[in-house]
């Protein structure tokens, strides 16, 4: 695989990580864990470098990275925002909340903002139907939301980051 500029950005760090495992055998999973610890996720160019360092097909690395629940191939935000898509929330405008969030954060469901502050996800039902429509941010549940209130909630987390 051709070398790319992106790969060069990760090369030093990945090679440093691989050097930590003098025995190449069995190094893949700990190496992936170390890469994810370093970058917060498994960046593709880093895995491409790793493939060369460990002399292992990239397909095998991709397979392992997608097999284990611990690994993420996309950057994850500092805060995970989950919009409830249950029936009650749906009826009470969950979809609209999602649209507000997509608009506010500039990402689609499943995406992460560029500043890596938020990851937006849909969730089947968080069991807060009485509070519909509801959104969870990290472990906190916010109910009876309107678009305006939701913006306020988001602002708290935005400030948290800056402050």
């Amino acid at each position: 695989m051709a070398k790319t500029i992106e790969q060069e950005n990760y090369r030093e760090k990945v090679e440093e990580i691989v050097a930590f495992f003098p025995e190449k055998k069995g190094a893949l999973i700990p190496a992936l864990q170390a890469i994810q610890k370093e970058f917060g996720y498994l960046p593709r160019p880093a895995l491409e470098v790793l493939s060369g360092s460990l002399r292992m097909p990239l397909s095998t690395i991709f397979g392992v990275a997608t097999f284990y629940a611990q690994f993420h191939l996309q950057p994850r935000g500092k805060h995970i925002v989950r919009v409830c898509m249950g029936t009650a929330c749906h009826v009470r405008g969950g979809q609209k909340l999602l649209a507000t969030l997509e608009n506010e954060l500039g990402v689609e469901a499943g995406g992460t903002t560029e500043d890596l502050n938020f990851t937006l996800e849909e969730v089947a039902c968080i069991g807060a139907c009485g509070l519909a429509p509801a959104v969870m941010v990290d472990d906190e549940t916010y109910g009876r939301l309107t678009s305006d209130k939701l913006t306020e909630v988001l602002d708290q987390y935005r400030k948290g980051k800056e402050g």
């Binding site: 055998k25 069995g26 999973i29 397979g63 284990y68 629940a69 611990q70 690994f71 509070l131």
Partner: protein, 583 residues
């Protein structure tokens, strides 16, 4: 004698607020002479967390439900004056909750500081290793384990001594000792407690195994979700190395042994031994067929002995006290004790250790304190997602490997989930199958495809859309998935369904034939109805309904439109007159 205050600082203790209690104690005991304040592992009384044991004047008392606010009185009366605060005692030794237990593996958990090797040594720690290295040949160690009758505590119940013998007799100059510490069953935390509460026992067990089978290298494969356990094992390893129990020339013999920790990456199937080995080797956790067994072809194709944490933790005691003595505990074919995580609809949830052969009744009613709010016991799910349920009429079944298998359950690693009349057995089966289905590695057809189809049928039944032939279909699928799957995960995945079908087929039939969930759990089959005689027409329900399914203005008759209702329970909770019922 020093007064000791030991605070339960396992993962659950910390989650319950043990750190704050610890801090308050530290503050309150500042400048007080002759009192030691220490962290300890889990004593098993989950219901009573935060828990602390106070050892004074040779007496041990366990206090529970502690908060920072209670600390002042605790120090004043108990630590300093030596009185006892009756109301705060978590459990007394003579109460059945403790008296019916027999603590061998957990003997140190909750009583010593797991981060201090001296406390382990005081309790006879590493004496088993010393005895093995200095007074016994490797073959004698294997024999001793065989004599003990110890069977693998990870689920299958294969005799540990026999396993060791296979690995010891397998040709090869490089051999491995692997500890399966990837405890992944939902609701099981036995191994975590041992790792957190008595990590040296695990190390010692592995060291003895290494000597017995001729290995110089061990791996502990532990879930990354157990950071505290990993930390404590690392601390223990460092201390063991410093004292010459681990590393080169152990106890000045020519025995060398090193241990490496491998953190799992989040895959339940890696509890299966060949998948676990694949994962240590850095591959996807896809199991491979056995034979060859790991004893002959294991890690990197070298002979390997794999046991779980509880199994290894039993070893030091077996060597120290003799296999014969261990074999006297329990039943003839299931010797020793078993640790269980007692959860579900039971008064005393927690971690217990009982002699094999004890009846389920004793566990539920004597140790567990029975079912909350006087409800009726329905069944207990034993063995987690690979296990099965034992119904009320088998309450006197003794807990041993063979009786459990006969009844359609398995010992498993030790999850014990109690269920009462408000538990729907179809829902329980669905819960466990949903778990295993998501954790299937996808390699073999029956597990990858079959568990998915079983789950779809269960979902259909739960939604009241089941067909009469679905019961036969489930049995057909279940039976053949058990027969044809490649590994233990698939071979046992249908068990929760098959065993609930065996004892509670009528519940399945009620869902299918009458669209009724007898336990009132399956939401799609419930109807929320307003009892008009009790309704005061206050219209609160109309306002709280998130989907506007309730009609009627104040003072008018209220009705719930079943088509719109999402069964969210909001109206039932808010009705001031209890005029809304689930049917």
């Amino acid at each position: 004698m020093k007064t000791r205050v030991l605070v339960g600082m396992g993962t659950c203790g910390i989650a319950a607020g043990a750190r704050k209690v610890m801090e308050a104690l530290e503050k309150g005991l500042q400048g007080v002479e002759g009192v030691e304040l220490l962290p300890t592992g889990c004593v098993g009384l989950c219901e009573k967390e935060v828990v602390a044991e106070i050892q004074k004047n040779g007496e041990k008392t366990i206090y529970g439900d502690l908060t920072p606010e209670k600390v002042e009185r605790l120090i004043e009366e108990v630590v300093l004056k030596g009185n006892i605060i009756e109301d705060w005692i978590a459990a007394r030794p003579e109460e059945p909750i403790l008296a019916k237990q027999e603590r061998i593996v957990l003997e140190n958990c909750g009583h010593i500081n797991p981060e201090n090797i001296d406390e382990y040594l005081e309790k006879g720690g590493y004496k088993g290793l010393e005895k093995a290295l200095k007074d016994m040949t490797p073959d004698q160690v294997v024999e001793e384990v065989k004599t003990s009758g110890l069977r693998g505590r990870g689920g299958g119940g294969f005799p540990a001594g026999l396993k060791w013998q296979f690995a010891s007799q397998a040709p090869g100059d490089k051999k491995y000792v692997v500890c399966n510490a990837d405890e992944g069953d939902p609701g099981a935390f036995m191994d975590r407690s041992i790792k957190e509460g008595d990590p040296h026992a695990l190390l010692e067990g592995m060291l003895i195994c290494g000597y017995a089978i001729g290995s110089d290298e061990g791996y502990i494969y532990v879930r990354a979700e157990y950071p505290l356990a990993i930390k404590r094992i690392k601390v223990a390893m460092k201390q063991a190395e410093e004292r010459g129990y681990l590393g080169e020339n152990i106890l000045e013999t020519d025995y060398n042994f090193r241990i490496k920790i491998k953190e799992g990456a989040g895959a339940f199937v890696c509890g299966e031994e060949t998948a676990l080995l694949a994962s240590i080797e850095g591959r996807m956790g896809r199991p491979r067929p056995r034979p060859p067994y790991p004893a002959t072809k294991g890690l990197w194709n070298k002979p390997t002995n794999i046991n779980n944490v509880e199994t290894y933790a039993n070893i030091p005691r077996i060597i120290r006290r003799g296999g014969e003595k261990f074999a006297q505990i329990g039943t003839e074919k299931s010797t020793g004790t078993k640790v269980f995580a007692l959860t579900g609809k039971i008064n005393n949830t927690g971690l217990i250790e009982v002699p094999m052969g004890i009846s389920i009744r004793e566990i539920i009613y004597d140790i567990g304190g029975g079912i909350p709010e006087g409800r009726k016991f329905k069944a207990v799910q034993i063995g987690g997602p690979s296990g099965g349920c034992i119904p009320a009429h088998l309450l006197d079944l003794p807990i041993d490997y063979d009786s459990l298998v006969e009844s359609g359950a398995i010992m498993g690693s030790g999850g014990l989930v109690t269920m009462d009349e408000e538990t729907c057995m179809v829902d329980v089966a669905w819960f466990f199958l949903n778990f295993t289905q998501k954790e299937s590695c996808g390699k073999c057809t029956p597990c990858r495809e079959g568990t998915k189809r079983m789950l779809e049928i269960l979902e259909r039944i739960k939604a009241g859309k089941g067909k009469n032939e679905d019961i036969e279909r489930l049995k057909f699928l279940g039976r053949n998935i058990v027969d044809t799957s490649l590994c233990g995960l698939g071979q046992t995945a249908p068990n929760p369904v098959l065993s609930t079908l065996r004892f509670f087929e009528d519940e399945y039939r009620a869902h299918i034939e009458e669209q009724r969930c007898p336990a009132g759990v399956c939401a799609d089959l419930l109807r929320y109805v307003i009892v008009q005689e009790d309704c005061k027409r206050c219209s609160i329900c109309v306002k709280v309904c998130p989907v506007n399914a309730i009609s009627g203005k104040p003072k008018e008759k209220h009705l719930i439109d079943q088509e719109i209702c999402t069964k969210c329970n909001a109206c039932l909770e808010k009705c001031p007159f209890d005029a809304i019922v689930k049917k």
